[in-house]
Amino acid sequence: MSTVQLSGVSHAYGRTQALSDVSLTVEPGEVVAVTGPSGCGKSTLLMLTAGVLRTQSGRIVVAGTDLAGADDAARARFRRRAIGLVLQFGQLVPDLSVRDNVALPLLLEGHRSADARAAADGWLDRVGLDVEPDTLPADLSGGQAQLAAGARALVAGPQLLLADEPTASLDTNSGRALLDLLVKTTVQAGGSVVLVSHDNAVAARADREIRLRRGTIAHQVALS
C-alpha cells in the first residue's frame, strides 16, 4: 500500500485557487521532491498531506488514514502518530526550551517526560545542534532553529517525513548533513520522505521530482 495517495485534490483560499486536481502517490521508502516557483502551491500540498489543512475536495489517504473523513482532533492524533513535520516558518514553540520543543511529539504521544527529554537530547546531538538544551528558541540563530526543527521531526520515528524548505537558512554543509540525516533515518526505518524546495541540491537528493506550476503537476521525473 502506498504511504501517500492523493487523487483529484483541489484547495482554495477564498478566491485563490492554490491547488487544482492534483493526484500523486508516494511509496514506502521513497523520497520525493516537490519543486516549483513561489506561490505554486508546494506548501499547501504539504500541509494537506500532513492533515494540517482540512481536505476541501478530492481524496487524501496517508499511512492508511483517510484524511477527508477525519475531524480536527482525529487529524491531530494522526499527525502525532505518523508524521514528522518540518515547517517553512516558525517551527518552534517560543515558550518551550529547545529540548522540550524536540521532545514535543513524544510528550504529546504520552511518553514519560524523562524518556522524551533523553530522546530529544540524543537527536539534538545527532543533528549537530551544539547549544544548552534549556535555551529558548528566541536565543537561537535561524539555522540553529532549523536544526532543532529537523530533530523534532525525527524524534518520534515518523512513517512519513514532510519537510518544507528544510535547509533554507543553513549553510551548504550543514544543510546537506541535515538533509542526509532526515532522509537516511526515515528511509532506513521504512518510511517515506516528501521534500519541498527551491534548491536543486535538495531535489537531487530525491528518487523522484514532482514539479508544480500554478497549482497543478507540470511534470514528474524519476531521478537516478
Binding site: V52, R77, L85, F89, Q91, D95, L96, D100, S113, A114
Partner: protein, 452 residues
C-alpha cells in the same frame, strides 16, 4: 521628534488597540471613583472612641445619620484603606492593559529605532498613547463616583450609610483627578515603551520580604495596644505593605513555579510550565491580588464566626456592614486579578499565534491546548487564594487583633467559605478558558504558519 510627528505615529496604534485604550480608561475610572469615595469618607463627622476600659458612654460616638464604621475615627481609616486597596487592584488591571500588545509595539519601536528615533522619542510616544485614555478614565471617575454614591450614600436605614451628601468638594476632587490620572497613565505608557533590563532579585529575598511583611501584619497592630486609632492605622499600613510585597513577589513566585512545573514528569505540567513562564508578570500580579482577596476573606470569615458566637453583641450591626464591605472588596479584587490574567492570556494568544499553530501542526488539538490553559490558570490562582484564606483566617484566629480575643472555634465558618471560594475560583477559571476558546481556535489556524 516633533510633537506633530509623534502624534502622527501614535494615532494608528491608538486606533489599532482600541480595546487597550478602553481597558486603561475603565481601570483608571474605577480606581478614580474609589479614590473619590475615600476622600468623601473623610468628610463624615467622626468621633474618637473612648479609651479601652473607660466607662464613658458609647453614645458619644453614635451618629444616627451614618454607619458606625465610618463615624468612628479609628475604623474609618481601615475602611479607607480597604477602598484604596480595591482601587489599587483596578490599577493593576489598567497596568496590564497598558502593557498589552507590547510585542507589536516592540516591533514598531525597533523599526523606529533603526530609522533614528531616540529612546526619549519612544517614551514620549508611549506616553501619548496612554495619556488620552488616562484622561478619559479620570473624566469617567466622576460618574463612577456618582454611581457608588447612589449605593452607599442614601442607603436605608441611615445607619448603613457610608458616604456624606454630595458637596462642592467632590467636584474639586474630581477636577484634580482628571489631570492626575492622565499623568499617571502617561507615566505608565512611557515606562511600557522602555525596555527595562533590571536584574531580578533572587527568590529567597522575596521570600524573606514576604515573611517580614506577614509578621509585620500581625505584630504591628499589637504595638498600638491600648490606642485604637494607632492600632488601626498600623494595621492598615501593614496590610498595604503586605499587598505591595505580594504584588512584587508575584512574578518571581510564578517564574519559580513555572520552572518547577517544567521539571515535573506530567506532560501537561511540563507544557503548561512554559506558558506560565511567559505570563509570569501578570500571573504573579493576579496571584498577589488573589492572596490579598484570600486574606481579607479569611479574616472577615473569622470575625463573622466571632460575631455569630456572641450573637447578642450590640456592636455586631456595625461589624456586619464591615464584613459585607470586606466580602465585596475581596470579590472585586479577585475579579480584577482574574481579569488581569485573562487580558494577558488574550495578548499571549495574539502574539504567540505562530508557536501555537506550530504546536497544533505537530499534533496538539484544541482540547489539549485548553487543558494547558486551565492548568496554567490553576497554577497561578489556587495556591494564592487558599494560602490567603488560611493565613488570614487562622492567623487572625490565633492572634487576638484589635483587642477582641477570637476563640479558636470562630474559625469554623472557614470550612464553608473556603471551599465555596475555591469552587467559585475553579468556575471562574473554567469560564476564562471558555472565553478564550474562539481566540485559541483562531491562534491555531494553519494560516498562522505562513508568516515568518
Amino acid at each position: 521628534m516633533k510633537p506633530a510627528t509623534l502624534w502622527l505615529l501614535a494615532v494608528p496604534n491608538v486606533r489599532a488597540s482600541r480595546t487597550r485604550a478602553a481597558l486603561v480608561a475603565m481601570g483608571t475610572a474605577a480606581a478614580g471613583g474609589l479614590v473619590l469615595v475615600t476622600l468623601a469618607l473623610f468628610r463624615v463627622p467622626a468621633f474618637a472612641l473612648p479609651p479601652r476600659g473607660s466607662t464613658a458612654n458609647y453614645s458619644i460616638s453614635y451618629d444616627p445619620r451614618y454607619a458606625g464604621i465610618v463615624t468612628s475615627a479609628e475604623t474609618r481609616i481601615g475602611v479607607a484603606t480597604a477602598v484604596l486597596l480595591v482601587a489599587g487592584t483596578a490599577l493593576v488591571l489598567a497596568w496590564q492593559a497598558v502593557s498589552s500588545g507590547s510585542a507589536r509595539r516592540h516591533r514598531r519601536d525597533q523599526a523606529l529605532t533603526t530609522t533614528g528615533a531616540t529612546p526619549g522619542d519612544l517614551r514620549r510616544l508611549g506616553a501619548i498613547e496612554t495619556a488620552v485614555a488616562g484622561a478619559v478614565g479620570g473624566l469617567l471617575a466622576g460618574p463612577v463616583y456618582l454611581l457608588l454614591w447612589f449605593v452607599l450614600g442614601p442607603a436605608q436605614p441611615a445607619t448603613s450609610r457610608l458616604l456624606p451628601a454630595l458637596a462642592p468638594a467632590d467636584l474639586i476632587a474630581w477636577a484634580c483627578l482628571v489631570p492626575a490620572s492622565a499623568a499617571l497613565a502617561a507615566a505608565a505608557g512611557a515606562r511600557s515603551g522602555t525596555q527595562l533590563h533590571r536584574r531580578p532579585l533572587s527568590g529567597w529575598w522575596w521570600l524573606a520580604l514576604a515573611i517580614v511583611a506577614l509578621a509585620g501584619m500581625f505584630t504591628l497592630p499589637q504595638l498600638g495596644q491600648g490606642d485604637r486609632q494607632l492600632q488601626v492605622t498600623l494595621m492598615s499600613v501593614a496590610v498595604t505593605l503586605l499587598l505591595l510585597v505580594a504584588l512584587a513577589c508575584g512574578a518571581p513566585w510564578a517564574r519559580g513555579k513555572a520552572s518547577r512545573m517544567s521539571r515535573r514528569g506530567r506532560t501537561t505540567d511540563l507544557l503548561a510550565g512554559g506558558g506560565l513562564r511567559a505570563l509570569a508578570g501578570p500571573a504573579g500580579r493576579a496571584a498577589g491580588v488573589l492572596l490579598g482577596a484570600g486574606l481579607t476573606t479569611g479574616v472577615a470569615t473569622v470575625i463573622l464566626g466571632n460575631i455569630l458566637r456572641q450573637a447578642t453583641d450590640l456592636g455586631s450591626g456595625g461589624h456586619l456592614t464591615g464584613i459585607v464591605l470586606a466580602a465585596v472588596a475581596a470579590g472585586l479584587a479577585a475579579l480584577a486579578g482574574l481579569a488581569t490574567i485573562t487580558l494577558a492570556a488574550v495578548d499571549d494568544l495574539l502574539t504567540n499565534r505562530r508557536g501555537l499553530a506550530a504546536m497544533a501542526a505537530i499534533g496538539a488539538d484544541l482540547a489539549l491546548l485548553q487543558a494547558l490553559q486551565r492548568r496554567r490558570l490553576r497554577a497561578a490562582t489556587i495556591a494564592p487564594l487558599v494560602s490567603g484564606l488560611l493565613i488570614g483566617g487562622l492567623g487572625y484566629g490565633a492572634l487576638s487583633v484589635a483587642g477582641e480575643p477570637a476563640a479558636s472555634t470562630d474559625a469554623w465558618p472557614l470550612l464553608i467559605v473556603g471551599p465555596a471560594a475555591l469552587a467559585l475560583l475553579l468556575l471562574a477559571n473554567a469560564g476564562i478558558v471558555r472565553l478564550l476558546r474562539s481566540r485559541t481556535r483562531e491562534a491555531i489556524d494553519p494560516a498562522n504558519l505562513r508568516v515568518a
